[in-house]
């Protein structure tokens, strides 16, 4: 009997040792294998990886400031390009952030007197928010080389309004006749690029446009507002964040300059930026010690 108990105690000790050994080996293996797996990969694929993620830095021609960017560019370079559509307004002066274009969205443009953005598009932009933020984005550069980053509403109320409701809406503007049209696209005379929703980020310096575009894409991928905003539309808010990007891409000095509305939306914005960091290293030609960005995240729910 005593022998059996002894053997069980011995087995228990052996088992304990085996577990400890397993845990320590497992930890060591994870530490050892990770570089062993990753290192060759980074060595072999580093160039390819870099190539894949590399953004193209377009050399600024000496006369770039005087020429219009390409109409087909997907880079956000200045406010002309930002607002550029397939059908630019020929009668508008260069530099105005609007143009005449076509959009599949049954949306509205013009002044604040227009009805607020209807719900028939996936990510409608509230008219008031877009109108109020547009001049700010266009006119308020915070850093040399980089202007204002702006986050418009990311998630929107789902469609709840039929075209008939829209057509019958009494607050329609002078273009209300278009609302009842069966045409798939809607002509918009004063089209705001920001009405496309999501993030709009512009810089006056063409050199860094690809960089901020990449940054915008990364931050935008990390914006996940709570369902109370995306689905229910019962909360809204606006957050202004400021942070710095060091030359190696690290993000520092993240601060909330202010927010209105529901605190969870502030948290959404902060976490989006934190999760997006670190960014790509700043272009070598970046003139400052760091890039400081101020973002305005607007979460607004548009309802009739």
């Amino acid at each position: 009997m005593g022998l059996r108990q002894d053997s069980f105690t011995l087995a228990l000790v052996v088992s304990l040792i085996a577990h400890l050994l397993f845990l320590s080996l497992w930890g060591a293996t994870r530490q050892l294998h990770l570089p062993a797996i990753v290192r060759p990969r980074t060595a072999a694929e580093a160039k390819e990886q870099e190539k894949r993620l590399e953004f193209e830095l377009v050399e600024t021609p000496s006369n770039a400031r005087n020429e219009l960017p390409s109409a087909r560019t997907h880079l956000l370079s200045d406010k002309s390009t930002r607002a550029r559509d397939l059908y630019p307004a020929k009668d508008k002066p260069v530099g105005d952030a609007y143009s005449e274009g076509q959009s599949p969205y049954r949306t509205f443009s013009g002044g604040l007197s227009s009805p607020a953005g209807p719900e028939s598009r996936p990510q409608p932009q509230p008219q008031a928010a877009s109108e109020s933020s547009r001049p700010a984005a266009a006119e308020r550069p915070l850093e040399p080389g980089v202007a204002v980053a702006e986050e418009a509403s990311e998630r929107r109320q789902r469609a709840r309004f039929s075209p008939e409701v829209l057509a019958a809406h009494p607050g329609g503007s002078s273009r209300a006749g278009l609302f009842g049209s069966d045409d798939a696209t809607y002509r918009q005379v004063t089209f705001s690029a920001e009405e496309l929703g999501g993030v709009t980020l512009n810089t006056y310096a063409w050199d860094f446009a690809p960089y901020v575009l990449e940054m915008k894409r990364k931050i935008r991928q990390n914006i996940y507002p709570p369902p109370a905003f995306t689905r229910l539309g019962i909360i809204s808010g606006e957050t202004v964040l400021r942070f710095r990007v060091l030359p190696d891409g690290q993000m520092t000095n993240l601060e909330v300059l202010g927010y209105t509305g529901h605190p969870s939306l502030k948290e959404t914005s902060v976490v989006a930026v934190m999760n997006a960091a670190p960014f790509k290293p700043l272009p070598k030609s970046f003139p400052e010690e760091y890039l400081e960005l101020t973002w305005t995240f607007i979460y607004s729910v548009t309802r009739q």
């Binding site: 087995a11 088992s15 304990l16 996940y224």
Partner: protein, 201 residues
């Protein structure tokens, strides 16, 4: 995770102990088995008793009980050695109940951990929304790890429990066979009870 770790340590301890204890040569000692098979009559019982004193183990205990009670009536002797045999069988199966319990409880503990983890995840969702994929995936991953750990402890435990239970049963059956044969060879002549009774049952 701590209860699961305890379960794992206990289960492994039982597996190690049973692997050592339930070896065929350790239970069915070849010397005793050989002696029983070569036994010609009751006159050699004295040597057997001597053998059982030198060789320890369940079979030796059983054989010694048979030899010491060989002069009794067969029914009485069978009843007595059945008691001894039951004790020895119980010793062989001791500890298996731990393995069986671990096999049953570990997956449930893992599931319990997952449920608690998911509660935490939904708590996070209620606070920051479903969007923060990194925060949520971390919580969900932690929650699922407990189920994985529970299953990875429970499944081997069940396999080993069935293996050792079957092995113990085999050994008990063999001990029963040898003790019956021995009783038949050394029992006092003239006793004619039914031979089909199970000595250890």
């Amino acid at each position: 995770m701590i209860p699961l770790a305890l379960c794992s340590v206990l289960a492994l301890a039982v597996v190690i102990q049973k692997s050592l204890v339930l070896r065929r040569k350790r239970i069915l000692v070849p010397e005793i088995v050989g002696w029983i098979e070569g036994l010609r009559g009751p006159e050699e019982a004295a040597y057997g008793l001597e053998l059982c004193r030198t060789v320890k183990g369940p079979l030796a205990t059983l054989v010694a009980a048979v030899l010491e009670n060989r002069h009794l009536e067969r029914a009485e002797a069978k009843e007595l050695i059945a008691d001894v045999g039951r004790q020895q069988a119980r010793l062989l199966e001791r500890g298996l109940v731990i393995l069986e319990t671990v096999a049953g409880v570990a997956p449930l503990l893992g599931l319990f951990g997952t449920v608690i983890g998911m509660i935490k995840v939904f708590d996070i969702i209620s606070r920051i929304g479903v969007g923060q994929a990194s925060a949520l995936s971390g919580g969900i991953s932690e929650a699922l790890i407990t189920t994985a750990a529970g299953l990875s402890i429970g499944i081997p435990s069940l396999v080993f429990y069935n293996y050792f239970a079957s092995k113990a049963e085999d050994l008990v059956s063999d001990m029963e066979k040898y003790s019956s044969a021995l009783l038949h060879k050394v029992s006092a002549p003239g006793s004619h009870e039914s031979r089909g009774d199970n000595a250890l049952s």
